[in-house]
């Protein structure tokens, strides 16, 4: 247990350190445009079912259907309000990982954002 705790504290320290480094990096590169990606919702599908982006990318979903949809992370990472026709939802993916999501009204609609450095 002590070992696990030490491991955790080490990880936490690393996280803090990398967060500090990242904020330093973002200070330095302020002039560069923030990376962005778009996912259209059309015909009851997420038009790009798998989108791969770099950490720090803001992904924007736009509902092109006549029926409302939502964008909800499978793991509780993000959750949009209901998106009526033309409404948008954005989320910035800071960390690498695979983020599966679905429409909570029509759960057969699924997609994944892959964040890779």
């Amino acid at each position: 247990m002590t070992r696990a705790f030490k491991m955790l504290s080490f990880q936490a320290a690393t996280l803090v350190a990398s967060a500090l480094m990242m904020s330093a990096v973002s200070q330095m590169t302020r002039a560069a445009p923030a990376p962005a990606a778009a996912v259209q919702i059309d015909n009851f599908t997420f038009k790009a079912p798998v989108v791969t982006v770099k950490p720090g990318t803001t992904v924007t979903w736009t509902n092109r259907d006549d029926i409302p949809h939502t964008v909800v992370s499978k793991d509780g990472v993000f959750k949009s309000k209901v998106l009526d026709t033309g409404d948008q939802f954005s989320f910035t993916f800071a960390k690498p990982g695979q983020f599966g999501y679905y429409c909570s009204l029509h759960p057969h609609m699924t997609g994944t954002i892959v964040v890779k450095g």
Partner: protein, 313 residues
């Protein structure tokens, strides 16, 4: 035509072909005959000692919807309510099988509630997925339309010897899945049915169909089989659903399944369009694709007749 009442399964199958044009269905122990709507109205089934009662199913009013093919879902809902009021036999109550609103907004729920008051009848509700869109995931609906209910809004009641069960299959939907009842509700259903005589006619209503109409569009309920297993011992079970904005029906054992038309907009037949989005029919066709369902119960015969009629009829 009336001798079809005691007919064979093939008669029922025959009528499936013209079901969409408005038909009267009668069920006896799950299979039965059918008679044409006109014939039924001209000469209603008789010979029973018990006075029949009726109730009406309204579905998918989508109050707030204002896009093609229907710029005013409120107006067509008002027409549906006027149709209910004009029925020759006054129904005992109305059931609304969900998607009362388009976006779960208070003004939309309020409009629906006010308009239904005009019918002057008790109304029993269950939510559709469009009624779960408030920040609290369905609380707004339950506070207004489901005060005495359990869990996500399920309940049961008895009326003139018939047991009505209202199920919710639009809460806590799972990624990649379809409709979902969930273990808590199934447990409740089991205890709700325990001790009831198998001869009690059962009417189950829920928003999404309790059988898989079309999996690619999510038109089914993942754990419906568990609910149907609990219902299998009853001699007469009628399952009334909405969600797909068109009439479909089937018989499985002693269970009769039926989906109602919407009062707001039609949806395409399974797989006939790129998506289940609203079917954009010309204005002159719209009213023939919207409608209400009138259900007639004759006690002692375990039969339920369902009459679908359109807003243009």
């Amino acid at each position: 035509m009336l001798d079809g009442l005691d007919g064979e399964r093939r008669d029922f199958l025959k009528c499936m072909a013209w079901a969409g044009t408005g038909a009267l269905f009668t069920f006896s122990a799950g299979v039965g005959g059918s008679i044409g709507l006109d014939a039924a109205l001209a000469s209603p089934p008789n010979g029973t000692a018990v006075q029949p009662f009726t109730f009406v199913q309204l579905s998918d009013s989508h109050i707030g919807f204002n896009k093609p093919p229907n710029a005013d879902a409120k107006a067509t809902f008002a027409e549906a309510i006027a149709k209910v009021k004009a029925l020759s036999v006054k129904p005992d109550f109305i059931i609304h099988t969900g998607d009362v609103s388009q976006l779960s907004r208070d003004d939309q729920f309020d409009d629906a509630e006010q308009m239904l008051k005009a019918a002057g009848l008790p109304v029993f509700f269950i939510p559709g997925e469009h009624d779960m869109l408030d920040p609290d995931g369905g609380k707004a609906f339950l506070q207004r339309f489901g005060k005495e209910t359990q869990g996500a809004g399920w309940y049961s009641f008895d009326h003139r010897g018939v047991h009505f069960v209202a199920l919710v299959n639009v809460a806590d939907l799972k990624p990649g899945g379809m409709g979902n009842l969930g273990p808590e509700q199934l447990k409740w259903l089991k205890s709700d049915l325990t001790g009831r005589s198998s001869s009690t006619p059962i009417v189950v209503f829920a928003h999404i169909p309790l059988w898989t109409v079309y999996a690619d569009w999510g038109w089914g309920t993942d754990d419906a089989a568990e609910a149907l297993k609990l219902l299998a011992r009853f001699g007469s079970v009628t399952v009334l659903n909405g969600h797909i904005h068109q009439i479909t029906q089937k018989i499985e054992g002693r269970i009769a399944f039926h989906t109602a038309r919407s009062t707001a907009f039609p949806q395409p037949a399974p797989g006939t369009a790129p998506s289940p989005g609203p079917l954009k029919v010309p204005p002159e066709q719209l009213h023939s694709m919207l409608g209400i369902t009138d259900a007639l119960l004759v006690r002692g015969r375990d039969r339920i007749a369902l009459i679908d009629s359109t807003l243009s009829a």
